[in-house]
Structure formats: structure tokens, C-alpha cells
Symmetry: C2
């Protein structure tokens, strides 16, 4: 099995209410079994998940965290998108989002915002976003395509971000090898592989942050099953790092 990963080139600027699936079909021919990875920013923009800072009144907590280094209105947006603050250092906030993801700034993003003084938020329900795009792609093309909505997350202990899946449709995000044996007959230790995260990271390699390519199409991956990106969230009772 050889995989190919092609950048999604030529997607126009995405406006609120945009039919993303239709825009995708105009710049890329999808086939059955393809995995379409879309950076969440285009999904969030299509869904109107953009906030203007001049409409945000920062709380005392936001002003305190922001100090003199950051815009307290930005921190206020981060806190509103958080259900739990995990760590802070100066104005840097690592938080748990409503979806259960732990990431910097609860996913609130200043880069790639449509205009100065705005912030792009994560989709309210990225699985639903992915499912909607998958369904609409099927309507438009007759093709069954798996869809991943991705974001760039940092990691404890390791430098740099990698793209991970925050929404999925038409694909099991975890490949479960429990019970399968390796070549020597041993039961495998790494029993679950986060393939949706590996696919999102692979797509990032052709997306080129600065060149405005907001997605990629992966061909040749035999997607199995179905599921939710929330399957990728470690349950609190198994989480050694809460």
C-alpha cells in the first residue's frame, strides 16, 4: 500500500456560510476511499466561528493573566473557550476545550484570522463539521470520502507542533490492534494507534502554513470503521497527567 498526499490547491478565501465541500470539488477530484484533511480554520470561517476583539470585555482574570505582555481581550476569548485551565505561564494558557481537547489557548487562533482584531475559534462540534462535509461531498460527487478536521497542537516534553484530528467522519480514529500478534506471536504492546492524528500530521507536511493551502487529500489509506475525534480524548480516569 503506497499513500499519496496531495495539497488542496486553489481553494478561494472562505467566507461565513460557504459550502466547503463544493469549493473542494472545484479544485480537487476526490475518489472513493480518499481522506480529506481540512485545517480547522477554513471550517471555522465557513461556520462563522470568528470573534471581533472590539466586542469582548475582558474579565479581571483575563486582565491578570494578560499582564502587560498580551491583549486581555484575547485571553478573555481563550477563557470563554475553556472548560478547564490546565497550566498557565504568563499569558500562555493551556486549557481543555468543550470537546475535551487539551491545547494552547483552547484552540483560539490569531494567525490566519480573516482580519486584524479578530480571532478564529474551534468549530463548536468538529465531528459534525466533518460529517456535514462528508455528506455533502457524497451528494455532489457520489464518492465516499473520509473527512478529518485538523489543528496544530503542541505537546508536553516535545518541541514544535504537530497537526492532529479534532473532528472525523467516515474513519475510525484509533486502529485497535488489541489481540493481534506481531511477527513473533507476541501480543502487541501499543494496542491502539491514533491513525487520525497521523493522517492529520501527514497532511500538514504538504499544507505549508505560509502558502495558504488549507488541506490535503490522502489516497491509498484503507480507512476502517467510523468514530468521533472524541475517541482520541484520554478518559479522565486513565489520564496520568490531569
Amino acid at each position: 500500500m503506497t499513500l499519496t498526499i496531495s495539497p488542496l490547491e486553489g481553494l478561494p478565501e472562505v467566507r461565513p456560510g460557504a459550502d466547503l465541500a463544493s469549493l473542494v470539488t472545484k479544485c480537487h477530484k476526490v475518489e472513493d476511499g480518499d481522506v480529506l484533511v481540512l485545517a480547522h480554520k477554513v471550517v471555522s470561517k465557513a461556520e462563522g466561528r470568528v470573534i471581533r476583539l472590539d466586542q469582548v470585555e475582558p474579565s479581571a482574570r483575563a486582565r491578570e493573566l494578560a499582564g502587560t505582555e498580551a491583549d486581555a481581550r484575547h485571553i478573555e476569548v481563550v477563557l470563554r473557550e475553556s472548560v478547564r485551565v490546565v497550566r498557565t505561564r504568563g499569558p500562555l494558557v493551556i486549557a481543555e476545550t468543550r470537546h475535551g481537547f487539551v491545547c494552547a489557548s483552547a484552540g483560539v487562533d490569531a494567525s490566519n484570522a480573516p482580519e486584524a482584531g479578530t480571532r478564529v475559534l474551534l468549530p463548536l462540534d468538529p465531528d459534525a463539521s466533518a460529517r456535514g462535509i462528508r455528506t455533502r461531498l457524497h451528494e455532489l460527487t457520489g464518492r465516499k470520502v473520509a473527512v478529518i478536521v485538523s489543528d496544530s497542537f503542541g505537546r508536553p516534553w516535545r518541541q514544535g507542533t504537530t497537526d492532529v484530528a479534532i473532528g472525523v467522519a467516515g474513519l475510525g480514529p484509533l486502529l485497535d490492534l488489541r489481540g493481534r500478534r506481531d511477527g513473533s506471536g507476541y501480543e502487541l504492546r501499543s494496542t491502539q494507534i491514533a491513525v487520525a492524528d497521523e493522517l492529520a500530521g501527514a497532511a500538514e507536511l504538504v499544507m505549508g502554513k505560509t502558502s495558504g493551502i488549507p488541506g490535503a487529500v490522502i489516497r491509498g489509506f484503507a480507512a476502517e470503521g467510523d468514530g468521533s475525534a472524541r475517541d482520541l480524548v484520554m478518559p479522565a480516569e486513565r489520564d496520568l497527567f490531569r
Copy 2:
């Protein structure tokens, strides 16, 4: 730029002292600019980094952690490979390795061990392993190939493992975007992308844990720079999760 990721098929069982680069050239034709990703297990086996449990005397600490659930000799090997124990739960040990990586069991692996009662350890210096393979590939083929040695790591907060880079040669593991601007002229927030980890994860998608494919060749990635997988280790002073 389209990437292709091809599994490294037909590699024979790797024995201590094996010339891995030579074995690779017998089953795959590499080109300038390719990225060869090798699962650390074949590298460790070639380097003789395998230990027999019957030659291990467990310490009191290992017996205590193992309890009745695990083999105290296995835990002893894990402790010997650790410079710092980060978390434990029952016999599960999350530890920092001599290289600075934080992972389960300090990378000590029972699956894919060459025989029962043995454990595969991480290479002593995976960057040196990668560099040696790169140099030898150049001798044999005249091609300049980047090399990544990979392992499957779990992550805090997220289920499932993803493959990451533990050794690199001929490639900068972090793509540094500091100072570059996005399409709207904003300075990018995610200033460094851990491309070596994304390449390792992408390779895993075609490796198929159970089918004995120990690597992959990625073509079409414009590798820049050079560096060490230790560049991927978060410096202690910037680490919010020590």
C-alpha cells in the same frame, strides 16, 4: 508538492551486526531527497540492543512496581533505561530516557523482540544510528537520503500512540516559521512545526504493525537543514509538565 509514502517491503529478519543500509538497498531503490523512516526495533536489533530477562536481577524498587501484575525483571530493565521516572501507575512506568525522551517504559519493548524472554531497548544514540545509515546509503548508492529512526509514543490527554522521531540525519526536525507571515500578514503563532515527528507518523500509516514492515520511504518532501532528534526535546526550563 505531492508526497508518496511507500512501505519498505521484503526486509529480512535483522540480526546483530547487520548492515541495515545494504539490506534496505536490496529491497527499495532510493533517490536523492528521499526520507527513509526505520522503526527503531530493526536499528536496535542490528546494534545488539536486546537484553535477555534471565540475565536480569530485579531490584527491590522493580519488584515493588511490578507487584503481581508484571515481570519484575522487565521493570528492572525499564528502570535501568530511565534517567527520571515521570509517573507510575501499577507496573506502568512513564520515564525519561538518557536521550531526554519521555515515554512509556523508557522505550523498552516486549513486542517484536527477537525471542521470548528478551526485550528490545532504544539505540544508545539514535541520531548516530541515523547518521551511520545515511552515510552508508550514500556509499552504496551515491544518493543523499535523510534518515529518521522512529518509535511509537503515547501522549498525555490523547488516546493511542503516534510514531515520532527519536533519531534524525540529513533533515532539520523542526521547521522554523518564526518571522514568516501568513496570508494576511500576521506573524504565525505556531512558530515551529515538528516535521520529523509528522514524517515518522506518516510512515507508520503504511508500516502495519502486524505485518512486519519495519520502515517506509517518503518521496517529495523538501527536507531542509540538518539537526538532531534531541532538538525535539523540550528544554526543562520551557517545560510546563515536568
